[in-house]
Symmetry: C2
Subunit: 233 residues, 2 copies
DNA sequence: TATTGTATTATGTATGCACATAATATTTTG
DNA sequence: CAAAATATTATGTGCATACATAATACAATA
């Protein structure tokens, strides 16, 4: 055999990908079954299976029992974006991070907040507004509500020392999250805080998280102008 | 044994997740090695490995050879967002979709476009500007450049019939993509097209895609005011 | 003491085999 | 001929074993 053996799942994956990229196998095409591919590549079926599973997870292949495997028609490449801790995000860019607490109060939520969490307005919550800096420039304005009946321990945390999000991430299990991204014109208050001009376009993330079915926190993150969220597929 | 045997990788995964969520294993903690877990659960090491690998891919565990496995300190819950085809996105919301071509020309790219693609300005590209409507309301303004030397076939496509993105997704393999999300103030032109007011905050997606190392297309998507991108984790 | 070499260890991967499961194809039955 | 029962098939999973690899701990050496 002049053929180099393809016997690691990574090389099987690479070879299958090559055939897709070079359009030897077209979108929608059925491809040979695992047994045949294993024979062709000179490896075990489990090895082929490992490679194919990886490609299916990436969205390049569609697999169904008995029906077989085909090249995906809409390679809906799923972009995975990480929900970062602001401190790390800032430090990763080589800037120094600090944050300051603008408000910290224990109160009952507004109707809007309560309804979005599915809670009564009588529940006691922690309301924290804070500003994150990157190299002493305003970077992010955060407006957060925390469900105190679920996360009572946060009462005793000094949020000047540790960011609320960072504390929550490390101290409460979060099983479910709801995130939306949008653009908004800076309000007068936001503009002042972020050293922007009123009406300037601001990137906004709204996030609600639950532990099981119990709402934990709802937060609105308003980034200083120029912020870009980036990902690769 | 009164213990129900945990012998499928899914149940191993569920049990390990339970221990993390219920804080039996804390963030940063080392957890037992695969051999011990296999013994405890009454299954093979390969089964434990399969489960642990899945959890590591989800970001809940951090694994290193010899060093062992620990609960991730920052459970970087990765949100996966699908890169949709606009027509489907609109139709999924129950609206009717149509789009109109504002410009279609074959020309050489601007310096900005060329440099972002890593191409010379002498390359011939297809420049398409189009407007997508949802229920006859402007939904998305799209400004796209396509590398004709890589995707020559698009010359003969009637883009009034099929959206460029949809055609590309179905007819060229895309192996790599670069996506960024940001907020911008609507320019006068954008405001007119999207029936917005000048300066209104607009959600923008910039996307570049490659096939292997060859750039295929670069596109800027400007959404009408009020657009939200949504995902769950 | 600092550096280099070596042993140890936990995860990573490959293999052969067996059986499970889902979906299709085929045959039987009313 | 249509509906139900049955066979077939491709992927999915589990197991035991073996060896590979990376990272650490520890000993040997200069």
């Amino acid at each position: 055999m002049t053929v180099t053996e393809i016997n690691s799942w990574q090389s099987v994956k690479a070879e299958v990908m090559r055939r897709i990229i070079e359009r030897i196998w077209l979108p929608g095409d059925m491809i040979p079954n695992e047994i045949d591919l294993a024979e062709e590549f000179g490896c075990a079926r489990a090895t082929v299976n490992r490679a194919m599973r990886a490609l299916a997870e990436e969205g390049l292949l569609e697999r169904r029992r008995k029906a077989g495997t085909r090249v995906a028609l809409n390679p809906i490449r799923k972009a995975t974006l990480e929900i970062p801790i602001t401190r790390l995000e800032v430090e990763q860019r080589g800037w120094s991070w600090r944050h300051s607490i603008l408000e910290r109060s224990e109160t009952s939520p507004s109707v809007t907040v309560a309804s979005r969490l599915g809670l009564s307005v009588n529940v006691e919550m922690l309301h924290v507004r804070s500003l994150h800096y990157a190299d002493n420039h305003p970077f992010l304005y955060e407006d957060r509500w925390v469900n105190l009946s679920e996360v009572a321990a946060i009462r005793d945390v000094d949020l000047k020392e540790i960011d609320a999000n960072e504390w929550l991430v490390q101290n409460t299990p979060l099983t479910k999250g709801d995130i939306s991204f949008s653009a908004a014109n800076a309000t007068k208050q936001e503009a002042e805080l972020l050293q922007a001009t009123e009406g300037e376009a601001i990137f906004v993330i709204d996030r609600t998280t639950w532990n099981g079915d119990i709402p934990v926190t709802i937060v609105r993150l308003a980034y200083a102008p120029g912020y870009r969220m980036h990902t690769e597929i």
